[in-house]
């Protein structure tokens, strides 16, 4: 078992003085800690609960040249995460207990952060036949979130059944809202810039119409619906409306959709090609507002690693996606805290407490006594520059290369054990 630790001179996310005592991998009373505890001076550092990502692509099994569970976990802890959720679009697809257990065990064996597999909603993510979600839930991986991410569960009947089915074990359906017919061959946000660039548009309505449908379906069946990576002002409006109406729904936004706009596509540099696409300034502002007022519950990375050759080409030939684990906190801080919209403690709630509750990831999301000691020490006064060499992810497709970002992660702890330090 790990040593007893006593951190002194820390600050809480709210800026108050804080001491953290850890025994047997859990937070304990400072007073009750035996005198054998190692005392660590945390001067200048802010302690936050370990970040929790509900949307991570780890690429293993099948695309280990882009990322593995190990490299993704290293990137995660460097970004301050102690729990990540592995999306099922691997090869083979995580639509059976076998695959989710494999990913879960890989995470356990590396023991850097908790890796919670997300199961596919439908067999092969084909949108037709439900996968054995019950078996995945009962497996060692205890899958609670199901998603066909990368694909939308488009068939209304299949979506309805999926929502109903997971009620049996408290599962949540995380929908990638994208009408496939309206987005065939789409390359970027449909608007002024796509028109000028001659890149096929991805209209906001293709996202919003699915969100609206799913909200109404869930109003009818009363299950747990989670909307992945919201990107449009209209989507925020719909979720806000649904929450007011008492429809059970949670929603996420990515850090990149809180900071970047479709104007960046003018470079034709596929590092900015992502699905759903970067939208307009007005959308970015609406998304930020949605996070502030709680319409959007969580910030999730949609960390999507791709090898160099999948980005070092013309836009249409390039893969969708950008990495984000190592920059998520800094980018979100820049978009929401530096801009004066939120306090750090509120941001941490969106990146740790709320996602832990949605995923039912016990032991994460809180610094309370008795809880697992999953936490991160950050320096809010230290900026850093994003550079290819510093990236721990196997893939380097970050849109922030060369940018200076606020907030540096110094140490990450999983159950009292230091898993990252710089």
């Amino acid at each position: 078992m790990s040593r007893n630790l006593l951190f002194k001179n820390l600050k809480s996310a709210a800026g108050k003085p804080l001491e953290l005592a850890i025994a047997n991998g859990r937070f304990t009373n400072v007073d009750g800690l035996s005198q054998t505890a190692e005392i660590i001076d945390g001067k200048g550092l802010t302690a936050i609960p370990g970040l929790v990502d509900l949307h991570t692509h780890l690429r293993e099994p099948g695309k280990e040249d882009a990322e593995t569970v190990l490299s993704g976990s290293k990137a995660a802890v460097a970004g301050g995460f102690t729990a990540i959720s592995a999306m099922p679009n691997t090869s083979p697809i995580a639509d059976t207990a076998g695959v989710v257990e494999q990913v879960f065990r890989l995470g356990k064996s590396h023991d850097l952060c908790d890796v919670f597999p997300i199961g596919a909603v439908t067999l092969g993510q084909q949108g037709k036949i439900l996968s054995e979600m019950g078996a995945m839930h009962s497996s060692e991986a205890k899958v609670r979130i199901f998603s066909d991410d990368g694909h939308c569960v488009w068939d209304s009947l299949v979506m309805r059944r999926a929502l109903e089915y997971v009620k049996a074990f408290g599962g949540v359906i995380a929908q990638h809202a994208q009408d496939p017919r309206l987005t065939q061959g789409s390359q970027m946000n449909e608007g002024e810039i796509s028109a000028a660039l001659g890149l096929k548009g991805w209209p906001a309505a293709a996202e919003e119409s699915i969100i609206a449908r799913d909200l109404l379906l869930n109003q009818h069946v009363g299950s747990r619906l989670h909307i992945c990576h919201l990107t449009t002002a209209g989507g925020v409006e719909l979720v806000r409306w649904a929450k007011k109406r008492g429809i059970q729904v949670t929603a996420e936004v990515t850090p990149h959709h809180l900071l970047l706009t479709d104007d960046l596509a003018r470079s034709y540099d596929p590092v900015y090609k992502v699905n759903p696409p970067l939208r307009t300034e007005a959308d970015v502002m609406a998304l930020r507002e949605g996070v502030v007022d709680g319409t959007i519950d969580v910030i999730a990375t949609d960390h999507a690693p791709h090898p160099a050759e999948d980005k070092d080409c013309e836009w249409a030939a390039a893969a969708f996606g950008m990495i984000g684990l190592e920059t998520a906190l800094s980018v979100s801080y820049k978009a929401l805290v530096e801009s004066g919209l939120m306090k750090l403690e509120e941001l941490v709630e969106r990146m740790s407490g709320a996602p832990a509750r949605i995923g039912r990831y016990e032991g994460h999301g809180s610094l309370s006594i008795g809880n697992e000691a999953n936490f991160t020490l950050i320096d809010t006064d230290a900026n850093w520059r994003v550079e290819t060499l510093g990236i721990r992810s196997k893939s380097k497709n970050s849109p922030y290369l060369g940018m200076e970002l606020p907030v540096t992660v110094r140490h990450t702890f999983l159950r009292g054990k230091e898993v990252f330090s710089q």
Binding site: E192, S194, A195, G198, L199, E314, W315, A317
Partner: protein, 309 residues
């Protein structure tokens, strides 16, 4: 002038007019018995075509040869978006061969930009059509043709009203023409079914009309765009017959155009679909002049991009 010609936005109004003036001078040379100038002797120009386009390729080839450049034709159809060699590796190959200029035609919008902005190669890049983005030399040869027909071969295009008719959404010719015609002071009206216009077309600074028949007499130029028959499958329009009836240039519409109005088409034409045979062959048609002027305009582009070094 910019080292590359990727978009009409790479040219200021003065540079565009200078290019047209240069083309006019070069056109006179090509009318002499010896059609050759020594300007680009010893320089290598690669025609890199990822898409079939014989007419554009031979136009560039003729232009380069009349400037005494060495020309290499590199047909790489389907080799990028499919499994073959990547655009990057093709570029590295051309760099190794010492290409001074690359004329690229590619099905992906932005391919020419990628070639010019990455450090894959050092030569000048001329965009000969990238996906549904731009085709700047086509717009320049169109402006040249309009100027020759209606403006006494000099100055800008102010005071002229140009209608661009058809599949604006997918047309690189339309995008480059809108930018250049407006830069040169012309008024532009887009005529198309709403399905074949970008949703945010209002930001283009053009008039838009859905009805081809209104204001026909007010146009000085009617530029017809090629319609791809397979667009029907994506529900852009119901049938060829309906398209031809509502947006085709036929004898009835031709007769309503004002007496000095010219008819243009970038080719290849779908006779009977967007343009009737009698319109294409009428005395208002300058379609053959467009082809002829293409060589002079491309000579001017190559000369101004490569000749000064």
């Amino acid at each position: 002038m910019n080292r590359h010609l990727l978009s009409i936005n790479d040219l200021s109004k003065e540079e565009a007019i200078n290019l047209l003036d240069t083309a006019a001078e070069l056109a006179r040379v090509t009318e002499t018995p010896v059609k050759k100038l020594p300007t680009l002797r010893g320089r290598t120009i690669v025609n890199l075509f990822f898409e079939d386009s014989t007419r554009t390729r031979i136009s560039f080839e003729a232009a380069a040869k009349r400037l005494s450049a060495d020309v290499i034709n590199f047909s790489a159809k389907g080799s990028s978006l499919s499994k073959g060699e990547s655009l990057k590796d093709t570029a590295l190959t051309l760099q190794a061969m010492g290409a001074d200029g690359v004329v690229i035609r590619h099905p992906a919008s932005g391919a020419a930009h990628r070639l010019a902005s990455q450090k894959w190669m050092s030569g000048s890049v001329i965009n000969a059509g990238d996906g549904t983005h731009e085709h700047p030399t086509q717009a320049l040869l169109d402006a040249f043709t309009i100027r020759e027909s209606l403006k006494d071969s000099s100055g800008d295009l102010s005071g002229l009203h140009v209608a661009i008719v058809g599949d604006v959404l997918h047309s690189r010719v339309a995008r480059s023409n809108v930018l250049l015609l407006r830069k040169l002071g012309a008024k532009v009206t887009l005529v198309a079914p709403p399905t074949l216009l970008p949703v945010s077309v209002s930001s283009w600074g053009c008039s838009v009309q859905y009805d081809f028949d209104s204001g026909l007499h007010s146009f000085d130029v009617v530029m017809m765009l090629r319609v791809q028959r397979e667009r029907m499958e994506d529900a852009f329009f119901p049938s060829e017959r309906e398209y031809a009836r509502r947006y085709g240039l036929n004898a009835a519409r031709l007769s309503q155009l004002n007496s000095s109005c010219i008819v243009m088409h970038p080719g290849p034409m779908n006779r009977g679909l967007e343009i009737s045979a009698d319109s294409a062959d009428s005395e208002k048609s300058v379609i053959v002049d467009q082809v002829k002027n293409g060589v002079a305009v491309r000579m001017a582009a190559l000369y101004l991009l490569l000749g000064g070094e």
